[in-house]
């Protein structure tokens, strides 16, 4: 039995610290729950704040202050996803109800995907018949993954999704990762066809999809066909490496964008994909990525 075969168990004293922040940058002003935020009376209160009995504006979460014109809000480090119209999300179907699907999107309530908001086979403008209702399960079942856009936000905060644009729809073979939503910036582009060949979807809700099927999925069927053929070994390796890189970045609290992911992928080539599971290797990749990102900004 040679060394590579041995199973290594670590000790806690040798634990690596994944925290990469350094105190050099000016630390912003943090607010903690119950702390007074602003004493001026003419500010509107946003998320993360509340008015107490004496009409003072106080913070209700621990985080950084954000002032946009007259709106004051406190943004917490980590929170469940708060949807906004136009966001791209990745979600999982949890339930089928009358004329709609319920989707788990890591928010405080399940989101709704109405039957009228999806493209059904047969073209864009087809009327929804009673038959469609019965056969909803044929299109999307419990457990299926979809990529959709937020169409509307209801009064109670739950979201209404749609997949009417061709690039959205059911997701095929690949890997789903869950990271804190605060690590995903709101950008114009969320679909990334990385130069290396995989496609990456960074959902605003913290669900990241690494797609393995490289064939252009046949979208004429309304995006419900699935490619279940065998993925070649090379693509599989790439997906595994991407997965481990993204998890390494998330563990060290680095924002996920296509740039940071590509840098991380580049820096990780000196390790094999399974070596990236080790905390030391993950930290190394995160550190190098952080340095490269820093160089880019300056």
């Amino acid at each position: 039995m040679n060394d590579e075969d041995m199973i290594r168990v670590r000790l806690a004293v040798h634990r690596t610290n994944t925290n990469l922040s350094n105190g050099d940058h000016g630390m912003p002003r943090y607010y903690t729950p119950g702390e007074e935020v602003c004493s001026q009376p003419d500010f509107m209160r946003g998320h993360g704040t509340y008015m107490d009995d004496n009409d003072t504006l106080r913070a209700s979460v621990a985080g950084v202050l954000e002032k946009v014109n007259k709106l004051i809000s406190v943004k917490p480090l980590k929170a469940r996803y708060q949807g906004e119209i136009g966001d791209v999300i990745v979600g999982r179907i949890t339930e089928l109800q009358q004329k709609r699907w319920k989707v788990d999107t890591n928010s405080k309530l399940d989101s709704a995907l109405l039957l009228s908001s999806v493209n059904l086979p047969g073209g864009e403008l087809r009327r929804r018949s009673a038959e469609d209702e019965q056969t909803m399960r044929r299109y999307l079942q419990e457990g299926d993954l979809i990529c959709a856009e937020v169409q509307n936000v209801f009064a109670d905060g739950s979201l209404s999704l749609h997949t009417r644009v061709l690039k959205y729809g059911k997701l095929s073979q690949g890997i789903l990762l869950k990271v804190p939503p605060s690590l995903i910036k709101r950008k114009k582009v969320h679909f990334h066809n990385l130069l290396i060949g995989a496609n990456l979807i960074l959902g605003n809700n913290g669900y990241v999809w690494i797609g393995a099927s490289i064939h252009n999925t046949d979208r004429t069927e309304g995006g419900f066909a699935q490619d279940l053929s065998r993925i070649p070994q090379q693509d599989r390796e790439m997906c595994a490496r991407l997965r481990n890189c993204i998890l390494a970045l998330a563990r060290s609290n680095i924002l996920l964008t296509d740039t940071s992911v590509i840098y991380a992928y580049d820096e990780s080539t000196k390790y094999s994909a399974n070596e990236l599971l080790q905390p030391e290797a993950a930290l190394d990749v995160a550190l190098l990525t952080q340095q490269r990102l820093g160089e880019r900004i300056d």
């Binding site: 041995m6 004293v13 690949g174 890997i175 789903l176 599989r236």
Partner: protein, 297 residues
């Protein structure tokens, strides 16, 4: 264990990966995820250990109490396992939700430690027929990320290794009643010989949809567990002997497959035992000045 929903496409991807010997996280079929162990995290118990296997987090406490032996086995001590699935792991474990899983794991542990080759219970006897040691091994499952059996067994072995049982200075029979004196010195203790304690190796087989023959996977993640119809949990001692075999799941196996699986389990069990013992000895060498982190770091 806790239901992870997966789509058909995801399951296909995972199963094909297993077949190609390249799993979703880049491991091959017989690789374990990174593990970390720390003993003596609970100073008020006789022995304790915390083991982390990727996100799976297990805490074990061992308590030694003086008890009366069973009438059938007057020269033997007792060993009892209790597994509690904490709601911290998933809301499904609230109240009695985790009881079934907990009972299953503690039964498997009891089976694994049953053999007298593993632990000779007569070493726990103080006064035959009167007094003996009873070891309570209490397992607390804090987070679930697949492969609970292996993680629990490793944590149990580490905790038993760190357990310190007070030395009995005098044990006499005083007019029919037993009189036992335990040493007052907290450092005057007896440690258990864990040299023959087994570890559990879980082998996931019979991935659905595809007949992939004899491919089985070691250290499954919770997604991989969801895709497999049958698993075999084997208790392997450091010398390669098998003390128990449990099959879980609704799938069925050919007898020849079972034999090959047991061979594989034996090889992996030996390596796993070596790995944990190396780590525990390394920790010992750090001495009593070692800083205990527990959950703080």
């Amino acid at each position: 264990m806790a239901n992870t929903l997966l789509s058909l496409a995801e399951k296909t991807f995972i199963v094909h990966g297993v077949d190609d010997n390249y799993r979703t996280d880049g491991r091959n079929r017989s690789e374990y995820r990174p593990m970390e162990v720390e003993t003596k995290v609970l100073p008020h118990t006789s022995g304790s250990a915390r083991l982390r296997l990727a996100n799976t987090d297990i805490l074990v406490g061992v308590k030694a109490e003086v008890d009366t032996p069973y009438p059938d086995n007057p020269n033997e001590g007792k060993l009892e396992f209790f597994v509690d699935c904490s709601a911290n792991a998933t809301p499904a474990f609230e109240g009695k939700g985790g009881d079934n899983l907990g009972t299953e794991i503690s039964n498997t542990l009891t089976l694994a430690y049953q053999s007298s080759h593993v632990l000779d219970l007569t070493t726990l006897c103080i006064l035959p027929q009167q007094k003996c040691w009873k070891l309570y091994v209490d397992v607390l499952i804090l987070q679930c990320d697949g492969n609970l059996f292996d993680a629990v067994a490793l944590a149990v072995k580490a905790a038993l290794y760190s357990a310190q049982i007070p030395k009995v200075t005098t044990a006499t029979l005083d007019g029919g009643k037993a009189d036992i004196q335990l040493s007052d010195d907290p450092f005057d203790c007896v440690k258990l010989d864990v040299g023959s304690f087994p570890v559990l190796v879980t082998l996931c087989k019979n991935f659905t949809f595809i007949q992939i023959g004899e491919n089985c996977v070691v250290d499954p993640t919770s997604e991989e567990e969801e895709c497999s119809a049958a698993s075999i949990v084997v208790a392997v001692m450091p010398n390669g002997r098998i003390t128990s075999v449990v099959k879980t799941g609704y799938g069925s196996l050919q007898p020849s497959t079972l034999v090959k699986t047991l061979e594989l389990a034996k090889d992996i069990g030996i390596k796993l035992n070596a790995g944990i013992m190396n780590a525990l000895k390394e920790e010992d060498e750090l001495g009593s000045q070692r800083e205990i982190f527990g959950f703080l770091k």
